[in-house]
C-alpha cells in the first residue's frame, strides 16, 4: 500500500507543486485548501503524514495540528509544517514539541522529497 499524505495549503501554486512532486514519488496524496478541509480528509482514512501550511483561511495550521493530534490514532503522526522565514520563531513557540519538522518556503524539490521520505521511514 502506498503511503498516504494529506497536504493542506491555501496557495494553489505551491500546493500543486507539492502534490505533483509527491505523486511522482508514488505517494497517495490528498489535498486540502484549508485546515477545515484537511480535517475532513482524516475521517475514516489511513493517513501516514500531514504536510500543512501555517497561515490558512477558516482553520489555520496550529488548530489543524491540534485537532489531528487529538485523534487517538494520529497521536504520533509525523507532521511537517511549511513556513516562511519571517514567521518561524513565532510559530516555533506555538508548535514546539508537536510537529516533526519545519520546511522553509521556498524549498528545493530534492530536499523536500528527502525530508518527506525520512518522515515516512
Amino acid at each position: 500500500m502506498s503511503k498516504s499524505i494529506v497536504v493542506a495549503e491555501d496557495f494553489n501554486v505551491s500546493r500543486k507543486i507539492i502534490v505533483s512532486t509527491l505523486a511522482k514519488e508514488g505517494y497517495t496524496v490528498m489535498e486540502a485548501v484549508d485546515g477545515k478541509e484537511a480535517v475532513e480528509l482524516f475521517d475514516g482514512r489511513k493517513v501516514d503524514l500531514l504536510i500543512t501550511d501555517f497561515n490558512m483561511p477558516h482553520m489555520d495550521g496550529a488548530e489543524l495540528i491540534q485537532r489531528v493530534r487529538s485523534i487517538k490514532r494520529y497521536e504520533y503522526l509525523p507532521i511537517l509544517l511549511l513556513t516562511t522565514e519571517v514567521r518561524e520563531e513565532k510559530i516555533q513557540r506555538a508548535l514546539d514539541g508537536k510537529i516533526t519538522a519545519f520546511i522553509k518556503k521556498p524549498f528545493e524539490t530534492q530536499d523536500f522529497v528527502k525530508i518527506v521520505k525520512r518522515a515516512l521511514s
Binding site: M1, S2, K24, E25, G26, R69, E75, Y76, L77, P78, I79, G97, K98, I99, T100, A101, I115, R118, A119, S121
Partner: protein, 662 residues
C-alpha cells in the same frame, strides 16, 4: 553412500545458501550497505570452509572464486553490479544442485570461468578515489531525545535502528530505569544513548538520519581512543577507568581491521559486566541459540500435548460436581499448566513468514525479468508467525498469486508511463495477526482485474449468459472456477489452465479464505485469512437429537431461543436478524430427524460475509478441541470440515455451516 558428517554438512550448507540468497537479494534490491556485503562474504567463506573437508571440491572452488570477488566489493575495490549478483544467485542454485548430487559440473565450470573474467577486468580498473570516499571511520553518536519525542511524530525507535544499521556498533543505554522496550512502547524516552559506530557513511550520513532531532538532542563525535577523555566527550559522560577501558576495547573490536575476525567467531561470550549498574551493553549481533529438531519429533510432541488437552477435559468431565476445594484448586492448576504447555508446544511449530521471503523475491526477479516488467517488492510484517505446515502449504498459492499479479496486473514500464504511473510497479506483501487469524495481503498497483474480459471469457466458455449483468463478486468467483484463465497467450508464467481455482482450493485446504478486491487502473488486493494454528479450535458444542456437533466459535455471531411455531410457522425458512432476512437450516431436519422441539435454539453464523442460521436443540457449552481432518473418503460430505474428540471420549463433527445451504 553419504557419511553422516556429509549429510550434516549438506543440511548446514543448504541453510547457509538460503541466508546467502536472502542477503544477495537485499543487495540487489537497494544499496543495503556494508553489512550485507559482509554477510555475503561470510556465508561464502563458511560454504568454502567445510566444503573441502567433506570432499565437495567443486563447491569449494566456486565459493572460493565468489569469496574473492566479494572481498573486493567489501574493500571498495569493486562496485557491486547486477551481473555479479545474478551470477552469484545462479551459483547458489548450482551449489544446491551439487549438494543434491546432480551432475552440473559444466555449469559450475562456466561460473568459475565467468568469475575469472570478472576478476581480470577489475584488476585493470582499480578505483582508488572511491576507496577513499568509502573509508570506514569510527564515531560516537550521543542521542538525548526529549522525553516526548514521539509526540512530534518522530519514531525514535526507527531512528535508533537506522543509526545502528549504518555499520558495526555497540549501543550503550544510560539511565535505563525503565526498561528500554517499555520506554519504546510507552512512547516516553527517559534514557539516553551512547553509540560507538564504525561506518562508511561519514558524519553527513549519520546526521541525515538525525534530521528531525534538534541540535541539543544529539551529538556526533569523530572517534580516536583519545577522544573519550576530551572535553567534547566529557560534557556527556565522564568515564571512569574501567568504563574507559571498556570503550577502548569496543572501539578496537569494531574497527575495520578487527571486523574480519569478529565476523568469524559466532560466540555468545557475554561482555565483562563491570561494576556499573546503570549502563547495559547490548551486543548487537548477538545470536540466540538454536537447535534443530526433526519435524517428526515435533509432531509427536504436538500429538501428545493435544491428547493431554483432551485428557484434561475428560478428567474434568468425570469429576463432575466435585466440591472439595483442594481438588478444585489442583484441577485449576492442571488446567493452567496444560494450557501453557499447549501454547509453548504449538509455539515451537510457529515459523516467521520470513522463510518464504527469499523464494518470493527470487520469483519476482525471475518473472519480472522474463516479462520485461519492473517491479518493486515491499514487505511488511514478515515476522508474523504461522504454523510450519501452513507455511509449506502457502508457498505454492502465494507464488501463484504473485505470478498472476506481475503477469496480468502490473503493466509494462511503457504502458505505466503512458498512464502517469511510476515505471516501476509496486507489489506489496503485508501480513499481520488479528485475533486468532493471520492475514496476508498481496497488493499490486497494476491495471486491476478486467471484469469485461472475464465476462466475455465466461460467455465464450458457456459459463455466463451473454446479455446478463453480473456483479463483481460473481465474476471474481467465476475467475476462481476450475479451468478458467484469461491470458490471451499461454505463457510459461501464468495462464496454464490451472489458475486461481487451485489457489482457492489450496487455501481452503488449510482452513483459510481468500478475498479479492480490485479497482480498474489502480490495482488489486488479494487477502488471505488463515487460522493461527491448524489443530486447536475453540468451538461451541450444540446438540441435535442426542448427537453433538461443533461450531467454530469465531464464526458464531449470535445465539437465541425461539418458539418452534414462530420459526416453522412461515413458508420460507428465514429469520430476521439485524433487519435482514437470513436463511436458516434446521439440523434436525437436515439429518432426517423428526422436528418436535417446542423451543428451539437459533445460532447465527457469519463467515465470508455470508450469514446463515442453524437451528439446534440446545447449546451444551464451549470447549477447546483438537481438530482432526476427515478421512479422504468423507470429503464429498463437505458440510463437515473435520472431527474432534470430546471430553467424554465421544466423537463430534465440526460443522461447516455455509455448506448446509446447498
Amino acid at each position: 553412500m553419504k557419511t553422516d558428517f556429509q549429510q550434516e554438512y549438506i543440511e548446514e550448507a543448504k541453510q547457509v545458501l538460503k541466508s546467502l540468497q536472502q542477503s544477495l537479494l537485499q543487495l540487489a534490491d537497494k544499496d543495503a550497505g556494508q553489512e550485507e556485503v559482509n554477510n555475503v562474504y561470510r556465508y561464502l567463506h563458511t560454504l568454502k570452509g567445510s566444503a573441502g573437508m567433506f570432499g565437495f571440491h567443486t563447491i569449494e572452488q566456486v565459493s572460493h572464486e565468489l569469496e574473492y570477488v566479494f572481498s573486493d566489493i567489501r574493500d571498495g575495490i569493486r562496485q557491486q553490479d547486477d551481473f555479479i549478483i545474478d551470477l552469484t544467485l545462479h551459483a547458489a542454485d548450482v551449489i544446491s544442485d551439487l549438494l543434491d548430487g546432480k551432475d552440473v559440473l559444466k555449469a559450475a565450470n562456466k561460473i568459475i570461468s565467468d568469475l575469472n573474467a570478472v576478476k581480470e577486468e577489475s584488476s585493470s580498473t582499480l578505483k582508488n578515489e572511491e576507496k577513499q570516499d568509502k573509508r570506514t571511520q569510527p564515531f560516537a553518536v550521543i542521542l538525548k531525545p526529549e522525553k516526548e519525542i514521539f509526540k512530534r511524530g518522530i519514531n525514535f525507535n526507527s531512528i535508533l535502528e537506522e543509526i545502528l544499521e549504518l555499520g558495526n556498533n555497540e549501543l550503550i543505554i544510560h539511565n535505563e530505569i525503565v526498561p528500554f522496550q517499555t520506554q519504546m512502547s510507552n512512547k516516553e524516552i527517559t534514557s539516553w544513548f551512547e553509540i560507538i559506530l564504525v561506518t562508511t557513511s561519514g558524519i553527513d550520513g549519520i546526521k541525515d538520519v538525525l534530521m528531525f532531532m534538534s541540535q541539543k538532542e544529539y551529538d556526533v563525535i569523530e572517534l580516536t581512543p583519545e577522544t573519550f577523555l576530551s572535553d567534547k566527550y566529557k560534557q556527556h559522560i565522564e568515564l571512569s577507568g574501567a568504563e574507559l577501558a571498556k570503550r577502548k576495547a569496543i572501539l578496537e573490536h569494531l574497527s575495520p581491521a578487527a571486523i574480519e575476525e569478529s565476523v568469524q567467531e559466532i560466540t555468545d561470550e557475554p561482555l565483562t559486566n563491570g561494576q556499573e549498574d546503570e549502563t547495559v551493553i547490548i551486543k548487537k549481533a548477538k545470536k540466540n541459540g538454536h537447535i534443530s529438531v526433526g519435524t517428526q519429533k515435533l509432531d509427536q510432541l504436538i500429538n501428545i500435548v493435544s491428547e493431554l488437552v483432551i485428557f484434561r477435559s475428560e478428567l474434568q468431565h468425570l469429576m463432575g460436581e466435585v466440591k472439595n476445594p483442594a481438588i478444585v484448586e489442583a484441577m485449576e492448576k492442571l488446567e493452567r499448566y496444560t494450557l501453557r504447555l499447549r501454547d509453548s508446544a504449538f509455539g515451537i511449530r510457529l515459523v516467521p513468514l520470513n522463510v518464504v521471503n527469499v523464494k518470493l523475491q527470487r520469483l519476482i526477479r525471475n518473472v519480472s525479468q522474463e516479462l520485461g516488467k519492473e517491479v518493486e517488492f515491499i514487505t511488511e510484517g514478515l515476522d508474523t508467525e504461522l504454523d510450519r505446515s501452513m507455511i509449506n502449504a502457502l508457498e505454492a498459492p502465494l507464488m501463484h498469486i504473485i505470478r498472476n499479479a506481475i503477469d496480468h496486473g502490473i503493466e509494462t514500464p511503457e504502458e505505466r508511463e503512458k498512464n502517469n504511473k511510476p515505471r516501476k510497479g509496486l507489489l506489496k506483501f503485508y501480513s499481520y495477526n488479528s485475533g486468532d487469524h493471520v492475514f496476508i495481503q498481496l497488493q499490486d498497483d497494476g491495471r486491476g482485474i478486467d471484469f469485461d474480459k472475464i465476462q466475455k471469457k465466461g460467455v465464450e466458455k458457456g459459463l455466463l449468459q451473454a446479455n446478463q449483468k453480473y456483479s463483481e463478486k460473481e465474476l471474481i468467483n467465476l475467475m476462481m472456477t476450475p479451468g478458467f484463465s484469461t491470458a490471451d497467450k499461454v505463457s510459461t508464467v501464468s495462464g496454464r489452465g490451472v489458475g486461481m481455482d487451485v489457489v482457492k482450493k489450496e487455501i481452503a485446504g488449510i482452513r483459510g479464505e481468500i478475498e479479492v478486491s480490485t479497482e480498474k487502473g489502480l490495482g488489486s488486493i488479494f487477502t488471505l485469512r488463515l487460522p493461527l494454528t491448524l489443530t486447536i479450535l475453540d468451538t461451541l458444542v450444540v446438540n441435535v437429537a442426542d448427537n453433538k456437533y461443533l461450531i467454530p466459535i469465531n464464526e458464531v455471531e449470535y445465539c437465541y431461543e425461539e418458539e418452534h411455531s414462530v420459526l416453522f410457522g412461515k413458508k420460507s425458512r428465514q429469520i430476521t436478524y439485524e433487519g435482514q432476512l437470513t436463511p436458516f437450516v434446521s439440523l434436525r431436519e437436515f439429518f432426517g430427524n423428526e422436528v418436535t422441539n417446542p423451543k428451539e435454539t437459533v445460532i447465527v453464523i457469519k463467515k465470508n460475509d455470508t450469514r446463515i442460521a442453524v437451528v439446534v436443540d440446545g447449546i451444551v457449552g464451549k470447549i477447546q478441541t483438537v481438530y482432526k481432518p476427515l478421512n479422504e473418503l468423507l470429503h464429498p460430505v463437505d458440510c463437515f470440515s473435520g472431527a474432534s474428540i470430546l471430553g467424554d471420549g465421544t466423537m463430534a463433527l465440526i460443522l461447516n455451516a455455509l455448506r448446509l445451504k446447498q
